[in-house]
Amino acid sequence: MTGLLELLGLGASAELLSLSGWGGNLLRGLVNSLQIAFGAFGMGLVIGLFGAYGKLYGGKVTRDLLAIYTTVIRAVPELVLILILYYVGSDIINKISAAMGGGRVEINGVAAGIWVLGVVQGAYATEVLRGAIKAVPTGQIEAAKSYGMPAFMIMRRVTIPAMMSFAVPGLANLWLIATKDTALLAVVGFNELTLETRQAASSTRAYFTFFLAAGALYLMVTLCSGVVFARIEKWARRGQPSLKGGTA
């Protein structure tokens, strides 16, 4: 990176971006962003799995509650949700702490970010996974039933592996959204990549350099994710002949 910048006559920028200076801050911001994206994505998957099963097999109350959850979350702009969930979340924690005789609680930024984005991701993951579960041929689930598999084993051994190939493309999108939604946490003062970038830029007035660098970092994350998800998809599609026609 440095060499390339030098080559382009951007030596000053390279210096600004040095790891011991603002560049280091940017990388720390990136690590924070990735941590949150990862946690939120994971939390979203767990919520999504329960949500999808609840929507498909739950009772009426469960289904209604889940319908409200997914509808509201998907209807309200993410930025608004983040503000609501963040302040509601910290308010509740402080109330609980006060009720138990404690003082104000310092809210861990990463944990808060994961909680806020995880709730948002969960709504989308619920829909992705619900669609994927429904796409599993019923015959495969019936076969499992007819051989005496208990419900949970069917979910673990048949439904989830079989739905993977349908779910992975949607989940890959969700992951990318998660990485980019971390930028929205800047509004609640969380030190993720975007906020770090803004601080670096405004302190040095080198807006172009820093936002370009941040853009490059986001792009890199996307490209690496693409590679990883391509592999996951290949694995999830094992046993399905490729559309182009392949070999066993």
Binding site: P137, G139, Q140, E142, A143, A144, K145, S146, Y147, G148, M149, P150, M153, R157, V158, P161, A162, M164, S165, R238, G239, Q240, P241, A248
Partner: protein, 265 residues
């Protein structure tokens, strides 16, 4: 013909233990009554062929026996153990259903192999995970079974890369892997191209010859006549006629059966 039970063998007393007994089985889907009191007994070693027109309730009956479909009323006894049912026919004890299902291996019209697993993985799945057979043992047996149905060398192939006939033979290997006390076949050859039917029937014929208990829903009349020792003709949810194949096919009594046989001939 309106006998209550369909004892498969001759009039003299049969001492072979019962494998499957169904008594007074009713099943409705909403307002549609599909089974209107079906009774049937299969003893160990019986091969019962179930024939009848489309929509007569053959699949529904088979599926009620292992509770893939919840009966509306009636009694189901598997290997002497009666399945506990609530008054509405739903199973009272899910654990019991699961245990009984492991003894009744089903072979489906659409094979229903698990597509994300290789043939070997399909065959060992239930022994390893449900029956808790040690993996090495299950694998050795699975290889034998796949070889037996003519699929040696295809252990690591995924089902989608095989012909329908091969998939159905693999599904039969999967069924045999649980060492079932009875096998339920629901039109095992109906989804196959004509030239693939023979290879699957050959496997089933061998199983019949070695004394496996089977309930076989089929449209292959010639085959039913050859392998079954008892034939049941279902008409609109009732057993219209039943008996040894020679009689049912050779000397049908009811007009409907006569008509049916001439229509499929």
């Amino acid at each position: 013909m309106d006998t209550a039970t369909a004892d498969a063998a001759s009039p003299e007393i049969d001492t072979r233990p019962e494998a499957i007994r169904v008594a007074g089985l009713h099943k409705s889907f909403g307002d549609l009554e599909v089974l209107k009191g079906v009774s049937l007994t299969a003893r160990q070693g019986d091969v019962v062929a179930i024939i009848g027109g489309s929509g007569s309730g053959k699949s529904t009956m088979l599926r009620c026996i292992n509770f893939l479909e919840t009966p509306s009323a009636g009694q189901i006894v598997i290997g002497g153990e009666e399945v506990a049912m609530r008054p509405d026919g739903s199973p009272a004890n899910q654990k019991q259903i699961e245990r009984i299902r492991t003894r009744l291996a089903m072979v489906f019209q659409q094979f229903n192999l698990w597509t994300h697993r290789t043939l070997l993985e399909n065959v060992i799945e239930v022994p390893v995970h449900v029956l808790k057979t040690p993996r090495a043992e299950a694998e050795a047996r699975a290889r034998q079974l796949l070889e037996r149905v003519g699929l040696a060398g295809r252990e690591d192939t995924y089902p989608a890369y095989l012909s329908g006939g091969q998939q159905q033979r693999a599904a039969i290997a999967r069924a045999l892997a649980v060492d079932p006390s009875a096998m339920l076949f629901d039109e095992p050859t109906s989804a196959l191209d004509p030239e693939l039917v023979g290879e699957v029937l050959t496997v089933i014929r061998d199983l019949a010859a070695e004394g496996r208990t089977m309930l076989l829903v089929t449209h292959e009349m010639k085959f039913a006549r050859e392998v079954a020792n008892h034939v049941v003709y279902l008409y609109q949810g009732r057993i219209e006629e039943q008996g040894p194949p020679a009689e049912v096919f050779g000397n049908p009594q009811s007009e409907r059966l006569k008509q049916f046989l001439s229509s499929v001939a």
